[in-house]
Subunit: 196 residues, 2 copies
């Protein structure tokens, strides 16, 4: 197991000398700018980083050389990063995967963890949080329980996400079940969930 600890005071680039000791990290996110920023941040933290923007490429790279760590975005263009989590885990159960998303929901978080993700974080997120997420192997029952209930908007979002995942992400079916217009559901899904 490579050393993961790090200081907030980052080491200068020239202090990273032994490439062969660096843990490998595969980043999959369709947002290229985000990928670039994240890649740089993780490189600074000692990883040997590779970037891909879709499932196909990610699998190709992973099959060529399975990464020890992976950061997967939940919403790749049209596909779901969840399938990638499953496949990466199949390739190597030891891979530590952090799922990232700007559309976080309890429902998808549950799926991600069940499929083997090490952690699930909502964007925006910084590199340090991702580092911490990689380190958390098992559940820690000390997670504080939120004191305030969700806003109605958030509750609705969570509910919709749940029904949606229960129905294989079929928007039309979900809209029918929820007795809501498909167009409306589309619009709701397009928005990001508000905090709390």
């Amino acid at each position: 197991m490579p050393e993961l600890r790090y200081n907030n005071t980052l080491p200068a680039y020239d202090m990273i000398e032994d490439i062969s000791e660096q843990p490998t990290l595969l980043i999959i996110d369709d947002d290229k700018i985000f990928c670039g920023v994240l890649a740089k941040a993780m490189t600074k933290r000692g990883f040997s980083v590779e970037i891909t923007h879709n499932i196909e490429d990610a699998l190709a790279k992973a099959e060529a050389a399975t990464p020890e760590y992976a950061i997967v975005d939940l919403k790749l263009d049209s596909e779901s990063g969840l399938v990638l989590v499953e496949k990466l885990k199949a390739l190597d159960p030891g891979t530590r995967i952090v799922m990232l998303t700007g559309y976080a929901s309890v429902a998808t978080a549950v799926e991600a963890i069940k499929l083997g993700a090490t952690h699930y974080l909502a964007k925006p997120v910084d590199a340090d949080e991702i580092m911490a997420a990689f380190d958390r192997i098992s559940g820690e029952a000390d997670t504080p329980i939120s004191a305030s209930p969700l806003s109605v908007g958030r509750l609705e979002w969570e509910y919709i996400q749940r029904i949606l995942t229960e129905n294989d992400n079929n928007i039309s079916v979900t809209a029918r079940i929820l007795n809501m217009h498909r167009r409306t559901l589309q619009r709701k899904l397009a928005k990001k969930p508000h905090r709390n």
Copy 2:
């Protein structure tokens, strides 16, 4: 594995004859009224139900006879239901646990699943949804038939009522907590209890 399938048309009480065949279910929630309602609903669905309102009692019962199924509330008075999930799993890894909470969050959902919970649901929920949750082992695969989830309108209504009650029916306070305009809350409350 006990039979979990069920019809929406519930069997009459006198149709349940073979007690020994009933799967055992342990419910842990500090809300006694909720426990009662849920216990009745689950009994109807063929479970041999036991109720406890705190971790201590729950462990005592579980150690005496480990339940096959469990419904654990995340927020027990001052303790966290998460530790209970951990212990129940330790007692018997085969136990299927559904975590329930009125204060859902992605963070606690992640912890719950990592600790071994089978699923994590936000209140309000109905018994059928819990049944479905017990059935959903992993990824997703099937979703036989979504019984009849509440419409988003109905969900919102139930939720608002709960928060309202928790706050002594104070509309202003509730509106603030829910991050919603008081005027809007007023208008929602003025409408009917909603169909579905």
